[in-house]
């Protein structure tokens, strides 16, 4: 048998050598070259992706260089004054009372629904931003034109609110009216994370800048003593804070609830002297806040 094989090899020596080389070449082709080519293609694709990444990150870095941190902090404060990070019941009450007092209206009743936990971080996170709201029911007394001015101004102050329902009735034998308003006020917790560093970033659009300017034009009708928004408080990459970034003022030992209307930006808009004609003819104003706690 061996002799036969040797004889065949000897007889077809050239063919055998070329056949072995051909098989070796095929093995090299399929095991080495084709996977290497595939890897090269993947590498080229990776390079393209990386190039796009670099362009995107470079753009992001350029945006950072063009932004002034002080301006950003100021804008952040301006927007937080409109929509605080927590329920901020004190600013809500102060705003309502300031607008009412400015228009010589008497607050006869007030109640707030949807407070539950006073600190935002303790409750279940809302699914939609619109779910971050409180409903305040307020009863005001005054003349029709004063009520009209209140309705006009309450949607043009910082600490944004929306009048959901209104019911107005006249008081017997007088020019005064009682109006029961259902007002929705908003808050929005700070974002928990800012995503990946390579995520794209855009500068403020014209529409966003217009909104910022509009909100800045609205007066703040409460004692504006917000905590400074420092980089330490800002959400960090991928970090999820275990405590709320801004605690509810009721939990903060430094903050007092201010029920007397105070202005930080437009002090001339609130009359310093109270009581008004409305208030003098009615009993002493009393502010009744009835927080509704859910079980």
């Amino acid at each position: 048998m061996k002799l036969n094989i040797r004889r065949i090899i000897r007889l077809h020596k050239t063919l055998v050598i070329y056949s072995v080389l051909l098989i070796a070449g095929l093995i090299c082709l399929f095991v080495g070259l084709i996977p290497a080519v595939q890897k090269s293609i993947t590498l080229v694709q990776d390079l393209r992706t990386m190039e796009e990444d670099i362009v995107r990150i470079q753009k992001k870095v350029n945006i950072f260089h063009s932004l002034d941190q002080a301006d950003l902090e100021q804008n952040a404060k301006e927007t937080v004054a409109a929509i605080p990070a927590d329920k901020s019941v004190d600013t809500l009450l102060s705003t309502i009372e300031a607008v009412a007092t400015k228009n010589n209206l008497f607050i006869s009743d007030m109640s707030i629904e949807g407070i539950t936990f006073l600190t935002t971080g303790l409750e279940k996170q809302a699914v939609k931003p619109e779910e971050y709201s409180l409903t305040e029911t307020i009863t005001l007394q005054g003349e029709l034109i004063q009520l009209r001015n209140f309705l006009s101004e309450c949607v043009q102050v910082r600490r944004l609110m929306r009048v959901k329902d209104i019911k107005l009735t006249s008081m017997l034998n007088s020019n005064f009216f009682t109006v029961k308003l259902s007002i929705e006020v908003y808050y929005l917790p700070f974002p928990l994370s800012i995503g990946k560093p390579s995520d794209p970033l855009e500068v403020f659009s014209q529409k966003e800048l217009a909104t910022l300017e509009k909100i800045k034009s609205y007066p703040i009708m409460y004692a504006f003593d917000m905590q400074s928004i420092s980089p330490q408080e800002a959400p960090v990459l991928g970090d999820v804070p275990t405590v709320p970034v801004v605690l509810d003022p009721f939990f903060s030992p430094k903050t007092n609830i201010v029920l007397i209307p105070l202005l930080s930006e437009t002090p001339e808009e609130i009359p310093s002297e109270s009581p008004s004609a409305t208030q003098s003819s009615t009993p002493e104003p009393s502010l009744i806040v009835t927080p509704t706690f859910s079980p």
Binding site: C28, L29, F64, L144, F204, V236
Partner: protein, 179 residues
């Protein structure tokens, strides 16, 4: 060529014609394949070297840029926070309604007469209850309402109730304010 070999027997066995035919093709295929494998291998090697170098350089650049991004994380956080708030503010602006124009329209409707109640309905509709002391005053109120409807300040004016009790007349009206 003259053979120097005096052996009359053939030293090599003649290759079968079929195998000779196959051998020709195998030889060509082997040369072609080996050429492809070697040249391809060299090209892939060069490509690997070149792209590898480039990838390393780009990775270094990327890491440097990412470090700069991380240095500016405070700005990014503030930007994101402002943006989410601005979006929320836009949504609130879209749903905010000032009820002052509705009161203005009502003041126009009632003129100097006494308003007993006012309430808002759906789609800018308003229901009011006006108190007058005579039928002529009631007619005046209705006239004003019709004039305002003709001026397209209101639409769908409806006389809901009309209650006459001695000198007291209460008129229940509803209309839609055209904003």
């Amino acid at each position: 060529m003259v053979s120097q070999n005096i052996n009359l027997l053939q030293t090599k066995t003649a290759v079968q014609p079929f195998l000779a035919f196959v051998q020709q093709y195998v030889k060509v295929a082997t040369v072609v394949l080996l050429t492809i494998v070697f040249s391809g291998g060299i090209m892939v090697g060069i490509a690997f070297f070149f792209f590898g170098q480039r990838r390393d350089a780009m990775e270094t650049e990327r890491q440097q840029l990412l470090a700069q991004v991380k240095d500016n994380v405070a700005k990014e956080s503030l930007l994101l926070m402002i943006r989410t708030r601005v979006m929320a503010i836009d949504k609130i602006f879209a749903t905010q309604v000032s009820y002052a124009p509705f009161i203005d329209t009502t003041i126009k409707v009632i003129q100097s007469f006494s308003l007993s109640s006012f309430s808002m309905g759906a789609n800018n509709s308003v229901s009011i209850l006006v108190h007058v002391t005579s039928l002529s005053e009631a007619v005046d109120v209705l006239k004003i309402l019709m004039e305002m409807e003709q001026k397209r300040e209101i639409s769908n004016p409806i006389l809901q109730t009309f209650l006459l009790e001695g000198e007291n007349i209460q008129i229940g009206l509803s209309y839609t304010v055209v904003l």
